[in-house]
């Protein structure tokens, strides 16, 4: 039984006492056993759903034969709120959907509004924004990687990663006072300048993190059981990934070299990319098939290091100056509509804003990467073992606050 469940078990098993020749050439005898499919409620209170999500799973023994995600347990009407509060007042709500990468959400929303307004952002603000977004990407990937280990039964790496994330959150606490929902990146810049000594502490964090990062790779990424559990599991081919509109590590895990920071650069990333300061890790199918769970996790783990490089570039290039453009307290955004997609840790975070020139938006649409990435579960879960289903759900790295908004 070295072959994976996908090969040995088709979603619809026809059982007879005749022999079945598998794709691998093995001969398998299926005896005339009557089995009954069982419907299992995977969630809403299940430890591996990373929030309140429910997957109605049909299972034949240990093999999942069908899966239907049910969302909406965490729906908080973020888009409707966007049509009822002022532009600047909406900013704290952006923290709440992808709560693991709140800085990136702030950034995406601010950029969308700035695009309509056409403001010039001070360079120091851009630097600080980039540092914060990349640090938050590291924090988010740490959670993704740690909880993935947790899903597979390795508890300890999770807490090691929380140790580093704790420092990251302490850094954010120093710069803006909040640890999870920052609202620090504002329309027109950032809320305030970095406190004295903050930038050097970020540098110390980078030094420490590089050492610890190697430990994580040794502890989990190349662990034999971990590789066995993730390689060849939940394979998403390239055409399926594009068909489902996957972005971010999900897409790169399938071997597509596409990152908005590189290919459609925004803010400072154009400069950083031209400086060859960072690379885009892409899944290679090193341990199994291209696009399996291991590749997706690999992309995330490697991306943390690239984020460190970007942070280091910014630390070297940052200069004193103003951190926020001259923005009135009550924003009147010029009429028009704009869509801005930025590279969130989970993929493309899109903000589509429509203004009629007033104080309140006409439409604030959030395109959450988790929401789109989750849809692929319906296609790849059938045929997987229950244990593999956990591995697959974990590898999509969803934040339920964002799928439900």
């Amino acid at each position: 039984m070295t072959s994976t469940a996908q090969e040995t078990h088709e979603p619809t098993i026809t059982r007879s006492d005749e022999e079945v020749v598998l794709d691998s050439g093995e001969r398998e005898f299926m005896f005339d056993v009557r089995t009954q499919d069982m419907e299992v409620n995977f969630g809403p209170q299940h430890p591996a759903t990373h929030g309140v999500m429910r997957i109605l799973m049909r299972a034949d023994g240990e093999v999942c034969t069908g899966a239907q995600p049910h969302l909406g347990y965490l729906h908080r009407c973020a888009e409707k709120i966007g049509e009822n509060v002022e532009w600047l007042q909406y900013l704290p709500y952006t923290d709440r959907y992808d709560y693991l990468a709140a800085m990136n959400n702030n950034l995406g929303y601010s950029m969308a509004v700035e695009k309509l307004m056409g403001v010039e952002i001070p360079r120091r603000a851009l630097m600080i924004r980039t540092i914060c977004a990349e640090l938050n990407r590291i924090g988010s990937h740490l959670i993704a990687f740690g909880t993935y280990g947790l899903d597979l039964g390795a508890f300890t790496p999770f807490l090691y990663m929380f140790r580093e994330r704790e420092w990251m959150m302490a850094l954010f606490e120093k710069i803006c006072g909040a640890r999870l929902t920052y609202s620090y990146i504002r329309i027109g810049g950032v809320f305030n300048d970095a406190p004295p000594g903050w930038l050097s502490e970020v540098e110390r964090f980078c030094d420490t993190f590089e050492e610890k990062w190697k430990e994580y790779c040794d502890l989990l990424m190349v662990n034999h059981i971990f590789v066995k559990r993730t390689a060849d599991v939940g394979v998403i081919p390239v055409d399926m990934a594009l068909d489902f509109g996957l972005t971010g590590p999900m897409l790169r895990g399938s071997g597509v070299d596409f990152d908005l920071r590189k290919d459609m650069p925004y803010e400072l990333y154009d400069e950083i990319w031209k400086d060859k300061a960072f690379e885009i890790p892409v899944g290679t199918g090193e341990k199994g098939t291209l696009g399996d769970c291991w590749d997706r996790v690999y992309v995330r783990v490697m991306e943390m290091m690239e984020s460190i490089k970007i942070v280091r570039w910014c630390l070297a290039a940052i200069e004193p100056g103003p951190v926020i453009a001259d923005i009135p307290k009550t924003l009147r955004v010029p009429p028009g509509e704009a869509y801005v997609g930025i590279e969130n840790p989970r993929g493309e975070l899109g903000h589509y804003v429509v203004s009629d020139g007033g104080k309140v938006g006409v439409r604030v649409r959030v395109r959450g990467p988790s929401f789109v990435n989750l849809a692929v579960l319906e296609a790849i879960l059938p045929g997987a073992l229950i244990a593999d289903a956990i591995a697959i759900i974990g590898s999509t790295d969803i934040v339920v606050g964002e799928t439900d908004r």
Partner: protein, 390 residues
Amino acid sequence: MLTPIEVVEVAAASPASAQGGTNMLNELLAKAPRPEFVPDWVVPLNAILIGVGILVAIVSLNAMFGTWLERKVSGHIQCRYGPMRVGWHGWLQPLVDGVKLLLKEDMIPKGADRVLYVIAPALVLSSVLAAMTAFPLSREFFFADIDLGLFFILAMTSTTTIGVVMAGWASNSKWSLYGAMREAAQVVAYEIPLGISLLVPVMAAGTFNLIEVSDMQSGGFGVLNWLIWPWVNPLMLPAFLIFFVAILAETKRAPFDLPEAESELVAGFLTEYSGIRWSFFFMEEYAAMLLFCVVGSFFFFGGFESPLTSAAGGMFGDGSVLHQLAAFTTIVVKGFAGIFLMMWLRWTLPRVRIDQIMTMGYKYLTPLALLCVLLAGIWEVFLAPYLPWR
């Protein structure tokens, strides 16, 4: 030295005596003054009752210490302290937890099979308690000196599966059922390599009796004659590795904790249990861990024999109280060393998948164990008699 076939024949011929020769409790009670009207048969009855009391105490103390150790080990592995509030370094925490579990509401789910649901934890605990009777605390102090002690332990511990399957079925929850089915599949698969791998030391020792196995490893400063050493039998190390993997699976410890895989099956067969019933399963788990680790130390790591024991024996005489205390300490330390190793593994490794665990059990461990037995038999029959140190 008996050949393996003779060993089996001899063992099968001698009846397993539940009240073996020199039970210390029996002797002590028989010597104790008692009133005229108390008949003789009260003495063994009392011995049994006291023995059961001691056993239950051992199992619960072991579970308490085990949970505390587990938290401490996991805490320190994970850069934290674990319980620190109740008592010094939280050593009273298990006591407080026990009180909490006792006071918790005893819930039986609406759709559950009430009778089986209630019986299952008791069955699980009683089977491991029965197995514990074959565990000698020292050379003189034991509950039952069974010639087929190893067989008895293996047989009794495998009956816990019935309780677990019962619990999973009676809970009337799909996750519990998954856990129960996994437990059944896993335990059946790993009974085989477990039993076969233990045949290797049994062949070398020539007995199934735990105390006799310990005795035959004496000498050599309490260390050099342990069965694990390659000069005794080079097949012992692979056999031990197979044995260790198999006991990990038997006791449902990570990376083989599939029956209660918390991230997959919520809590497996334990999902619907709460309070004291739930803690029965925990007591069973820790007792089984201790039992298997003790069996491992008897059959591979010298049992009572250690430098401490031999020093105590040399200074205070064989069979003296201090000598026995040293033997008891030795076996407890060895057992908990094994438990520590299991905890270390649990907090380091991810969990394997059900098909991988089955593949490993049936495809690799069982043939390897059989090969070990074959080669060990050849060694024992053809080579061991000519070795100067045997």
